[in-house]
Amino acid sequence: MDTTQLLKGVLDLAVLAVVAERDGYGYDVVRRLREAGLEDVGDASVYGTLRRLFQAGALTSYVVPSDEGPHRKYYGLNDAGRTLLERSTKTWTAFAETLDALLKTEGTAA
């Protein structure tokens, strides 16, 4: 199954989860998502998602000067972001359970 299609639907949730764990800047979020196992995640997709969530008011951002290169813009969750994460998590859990159950019955029936 093509994971990029699945990712599209849950990228918001994945990004929220990563940022909730610890504030991060664009490339840092990409790397952590990949380390967590979402290797197909697109750089531009993460970047765009961060921008959109920030625009939607779910994230705060602040700039941290960096020794090696240009300043980095860090993103963190605010209250709205945490609420969104909770709600999305519930939706996802319910969805995943439904699908699991479906697959299990299919499996026993076969």
Binding site: L11, Y25, G26, D43, A44, Y47, G48, Q55, R72, K73
Partner: protein, 395 residues
């Protein structure tokens, strides 16, 4: 050091390409989106173990498309629409546009804007007429002949009823389209807009010639219209000694130039079709009279011929039929023509060079075989007065 420079230039190039691909977005959205993309790209490049940005991220265009999708922005428009968006954006951010926008917000401007849509049905009617006009003139190879009789109604082989039916049909079609345009898909609406513009521009281009037609001179009951000659479409090729005459001058036995002579062949068909261009290829304009029924008479001779562009002829005053500024040769020829009843022979200014050499022979001098009496009624020779003799110079 060198590495940093190459890195920067690669990032700058990649970033510029992304910016280009996002050029249709409002400036604010785009700047927001790529605000810290440069830093991000540097990071990617630093971590990619020497691979280029293209290799690790894909093409800038694909990257930009992914950015749009994930950031919840409009997808990129088609290639052919993109430049239009860019122009739109350039215009919409200009100070002039801003000033216009302020003007549009004035109360009076709002009244005007509220009023304008009520004019739309009027435009549909006009558009129907214009579309038919453009179609008919185009089918006639740019000739306004079908419109010379009634101006607003085209004639079809002299039948105005068919023209009326066509006008009514065209207007009905335009109104029908107008009522449905709003519900059409976007590309069709755009096509309608383009077609509207074509029709209007073509009609504007035809305005000059049409005005000539509208300014037909002569008496109201028997108007004479200025008709651009429609050669080669109607050019049947009258030849005299292998040459196409530009005009025909009938004379009676006494050597008097006859006017308003209509010529027919052995089968009763009008002899018409003098060339539409002179020997130098310049387009000629013929001033053709109309008969009692209003149809243009194209076999009446001699004809008024002019080579001036229609715009220039516009200034030709209706009352006198005198050209305002013509070369000396044409002036002389006009003087020659004055004593004759209308329509007078009009010698085109284009023939200036040829006429200067032998003006009378070309224009109205009777054939040599005529009686001496004819010569007296012929044009007076234009001779230079004695005082015009060059004075001997003092030096």
């Amino acid at each position: 050091m060198t590495d940093t420079v190459t890195e920067s230039s690669e990032v700058v190039g990649y970033l510029a390409a992304i910016r280009e691909a996002l050029a249709d977005l409002p400036a604010g959205d785009r700047d927001d989106l790529i605000e810290d993309l440069e830093a991000h790209l540097h990071e990617v490049l630093a971590e990619s173990d020497g691979a280029t940005l293209e290799a690790s991220l894909g093409s800038p265009t694909a990257y930009a498309a992914e950015l749009r999708a994930s950031a919840g922005l409009d997808p990129a428009p088609d290639g052919d629409v993109r430049w239009l968006r860019r122009v739109e954006r350039r215009v919409s951010t200009s100070p002039l546009w801003h000033a216009l926008g302020c003007a549009f917000e004035q109360p009076w401007a709002r009244d005007v804007r509220a009023f304008l849509p009520t004019l739309r049905p009027g435009w549909w009617v006009l558009r129907g007429w214009l579309a038919l006009f453009v179609l008919v003139v185009w089918l006639h190879g740019g000739d306004l002949a079908p419109y010379t009789t009634y101006l607003v109604l085209p004639t079809y082989h002299g039948h105005w009823l068919i023209g009326l039916a066509a006008v009514v049909g065209a207007i009905a079609g335009s109104v029908w389209l107008g009522l449905r345009t709003a519900a059409l898909p976007r590309w069709l609406r755009r096509s309608v807009l383009v077609a509207d513009m074509v029709v209007v521009l073509y009609a504007i281009g035809m305005y000059g010639p049409l005005q000539n037609v509208a300014q037909g001179f002569g008496t109201p009951s028997r108007p004479i219209y200025l008709v651009p000659t429609a050669a080669p479409a109607r050019y049947h090729g009258i030849t005299v000694d292998g040459r196409h005459p530009l005009n025909i001058y009938p004379y009676d036995a006494q050597g008097h130039l006859l006017t308003n002579v209509r010529l027919y062949d052995d089968r009763g068909r009008p002899i018409e079709g003098l060339p539409g261009t002179d020997q130098h290829g310049q387009k000629l304009v013929r001033v053709l009279p109309s008969d009692a029924a209003g149809a243009v008479v194209s076999n009446e001779y001699p004809q008024r011929v002019a080579a001036a562009p229609l715009e220039q002829l516009l200034t030709w005053t209706r009352a006198t039929g005198v050209l305002p500024t013509v070369g000396p040769s044409a002036e002389a020829a006009f003087a020659v023509a004055t004593p004759m009843p209308t329509p007078t022979v009009f010698v085109p200014p284009m023939a200036g060079a040829a006429l200067t050499a032998t003006p009378q022979a070309t224009a109205v001098t009777p054939p040599p075989s005529l009686t001496p009496a004819a010569k007296t009624s012929g044009p007076a020779k234009v001779t230079a007065p004695a005082k015009a003799k060059p004075r001997p110079t003092s030096s």
